[in-house]
């Protein structure tokens, strides 16, 4: 049973993640790369890299599930499942007692309700940059800071500034105003983290917030946002050791479960001649 392999591909708007597991749910390889303009067409390159790390060839993979915004751009996948379902599964894998999951990615934010390891409800915000990774990218660039510096800097704050604007563009203007009025940079950044966390907490409260609460996505690497989220929700927030992988791991686990079900009903037919190639409808 251990020498059967499954792959999950999470093709996000900003990052592409691939995870390969074996039949005992052991992670053999994981790769995270920038999606960019290329990877939307070339999910196969990221998959090749993961296969290389795992020491496998594509013929060893029994089932591939694609998820994420670009899931239709993975022609070698057996099935596409939304990142909503996959994240819920991945979060439950990391934290079996998780009931609420918050994922803040590059371009959207989602809150998931999880029961017995499965998705039961969700709320999404994807019409607006505020409350997403994009908000922090814009602000970091405007302040001449690196994204990874924002977290540690904000933790030095003693008097966080309130950013009143909901809109990313107007928040940027407000930040400039605050700094020229003499506010300390760490206080402004703490205020920005509070703004993004407040927005996401409000969205999450539309589903009843129940512990354990887990936070995933690129923005979860920012300790300042984690702290602000805990303050806004009024409860502890747990972050997996690699917060970007919950979607891809969830997809790989669902691949494993799908094959187990198909094998049990005697209907599993592995895809033959699986070719790693670019999505063809762009030609």
């Amino acid at each position: 049973m251990a020498s059967i392999y499954f792959a999950g591909i999470d093709l996000g708007s900003t990052m592409t993640k691939v995870v390969i597991i074996d039949g005992s749910e052991k992670v053999l390889a994981s790769v995270v790369q920038h999606t960019g303009a290329e990877h939307r067409r070339l999910a196969n390159r990221v998959m090749e890299e993961a296969l290389g790390k795992a020491g496998l060839s594509v013929d060893n993979i029994a089932y591939v599930i694609a998820t994420g915004y670009g899931r239709i751009n993975v022609p070698f996948a057996d099935k596409q499942i939304t990142e909503l379902t996959c994240h819920a599964r991945g979060v439950a894998f990391f934290f079996p007692k998780a009931r609420t999951a918050i994922d803040i990615g590059g371009q959207d934010a989602k809150a998931l309700k999880i029961k017995d390891g499965k998705l039961v409800d969700f709320v999404m915000s994807d019409k607006c940059a505020a409350g997403t990774g994009r908000f922090l990218e814009v602000i970091a660039q405007a302040l001449g800071l690196k994204l990874e510096d924002l977290g540690p800097l904000s933790l030095k704050s003693t008097r966080k500034v309130t950013i009143s604007n909901i809109c990313t563009v107007f928040a940027q203007q407000e930040v400039v105003g605050q700094l020229s009025a003499g506010a300390a940079l760490e206080d402004v950044v703490a205020g920005l983290h509070d703004a993004i966390a407040g927005r996401v907490a409000r969205m999450t409260r539309r589903l009843k917030v129940e512990p354990e609460v887990v936070f995933t996505g690129g923005v979860a690497k920012n300790a300042g946002v984690v702290k602000a989220l805990e303050e806004n929700l009024g409860c502890p927030v747990l972050v997996p050791s690699d917060p970007l992988l919950s979607g891809a791991i969830g997809a790989a686990l669902i691949a494993s479960e799908t094959v187990a079900k198909l094998q049990a009903s005697g209907t599993f037919k592995p895809m033959t001649g699986r070719r790693l190639e670019a999505a063809s409808f762009f030609k």
């Binding site: 379902t85 998705l119 999404m124 994807d126």
Partner: protein, 390 residues
């Protein structure tokens, strides 16, 4: 003069692509075409005087460019699109335009249309929003005034006999639409949600008797064909704002779902109750249009007082017909949708979702913005919903 063209679904497709083709033919033969906005203008009164009612809708695939000079951008994009289409001359063939008080934006649109698009005959029925006896009395009076206005416009008397005949003809159409909807009960349904919109829209672009003939040929066509919708895991009910384009339905039905029933107005809403026969036909019409049509623009105040201010009892009084639809059409999930800025439906969403939760029907809320472009994120939500209920 008129060559008989295609029948059944082929004719529906033709009309869906170019809606005004038939009324333009009728106009050149001397008929008067009267546009109407929404389902509250009383069509029977127009049909009775041999006017051809023609439903005015927007164009989801046409960017709104002219309407923003006359209406603020933060209002219903469907109504803005209607105005935009009118300003671009697409409704120049109309001899008249009849509107009703759907909502504030709809009423404002009526006035703006009158000043800018300048359809020769214009009438606005200020339909009340509650279902008290006094509201019914008010509507009867308003319809009396509408009658006089139509008589002046046509130069003909509108007798009770003519009105009763028109009511019978429109009731025939309602019965035919209900017969069509019966074909959505099997699994898989014989017509898709997207096809239903096309059919209703085609019917609302024809004079009533021709619409009835089209419905009969569609029903026969659909019963005989072999290439209808395929069986899917989910059977969905769609509730909400006007869907006058197939794009959203096609997106939903491209996933593992069939839309088997709806509570929308290019859909079941105008057709599921008949006008009851009354000695004075105006009585039956007033009751039908104000009370029997179930649209959130009408506030069912008397139900609330009758159920002693209990939230769940009130919801059941207002929405139990929806669980009947779900039961009869065997729907296992609901898509609650509204167009952005639609207060009328937007304010109803929490209540209707609470009702569905109470009766054990999973639902998801989609807010869309009457454009084709923004459907991709909605697709993820619908697919996520189907993965939950699947």
């Amino acid at each position: 003069m008129v060559v008989a063209t295609k029948q059944g679904m082929a004719r529906v497709d033709e009309l869906y692509r170019e809606r005004p083709q038939r009324v333009k033919e009728l106009k050149s033969g001397g008929k008067k075409i009267v546009g109407y906005l929404c389902i509250y203008p009383v069509l029977e009164m127009m049909t009775a005087l041999d006017l051809v009612p023609y439903r005015v809708v927007g164009d989801m695939r046409e960017p709104i460019t002219k309407a923003d000079s006359y209406m603020p951008p933060v209002v219903c994009p469907f109504l803005r699109s209607c105005l935009d289409t009118g300003l671009k001359g697409k409704y120049d063939f109309l001899d008249g335009m009849v509107t009703s008080h759907i909502c504030d934006v709809g009423s404002s649109l009526s006035g703006v249309w009158n000043y800018t698009v300048k359809t020769p005959y214009h009438y606005h029925i200020d339909t009340p929003h509650t279902v008290h006896e006094t509201s019914l009395e008010q509507l009867r009076g308003l319809l009396g005034a509408f009658r006089k206005s139509l008589e002046e416009f046509t130069g003909n008397k509108l007798t009770d006999a003519m009105l009763k005949a028109a009511i019978a003809l429109h009731n025939e159409q309602r019965a035919l639409v209900r017969e069509l909807y019966e074909l959505k009960k099997p699994d898989p349904p014989l017509i898709s949600g997207a096809e239903t919109i096309k059919i209703i829209k085609a019917v609302q672009s024809l004079p009533t008797n021709e619409g009835n003939a089209l419905l009969r040929s569609v029903i026969a066509d659909v019963k005989a064909r072999k290439n209808g919708p395929v069986k899917k895991s989910a059977r969905l009910l769609v509730w909400g704002s006007i869907l006058d384009d197939t794009a959203l339905m096609e997106m939903i039905e491209s996933l593992d779902a069939n839309v088997v029933m709806d509570d929308t107005c290019v859909g079941s809403r105008p057709f599921f109750e008949d006008v009851k026969p009354t000695a004075d036909p105006i009585d039956g019409l007033a009751r039908h249009y104000l009370v029997d049509i179930k649209c959130p623009r009408t506030f069912r105040a008397w139900d609330f007082y009758a159920t002693k201010k209990n939230y769940m009892e009130d919801l059941k009084a207002r929405f139990s017909y929806l669980s009947d639809y779900a039961r009869d059409w065997k729907a296992n999930g609901v898509i609650v949708e509204s167009v952005r800025y639609c207060d009328t439906h937007g304010y109803e969403v929490p209540g209707v979702r609470d009702y569905f939760k109470e009766v054990g029907l999973p639902s998801i809320y989609l807010e869309h913005d009457y454009t084709e472009g923004a459907l991709a994120p909605l697709r993820t939500r619908v697919q996520g919903f189907l993965e939950i209920i699947g």
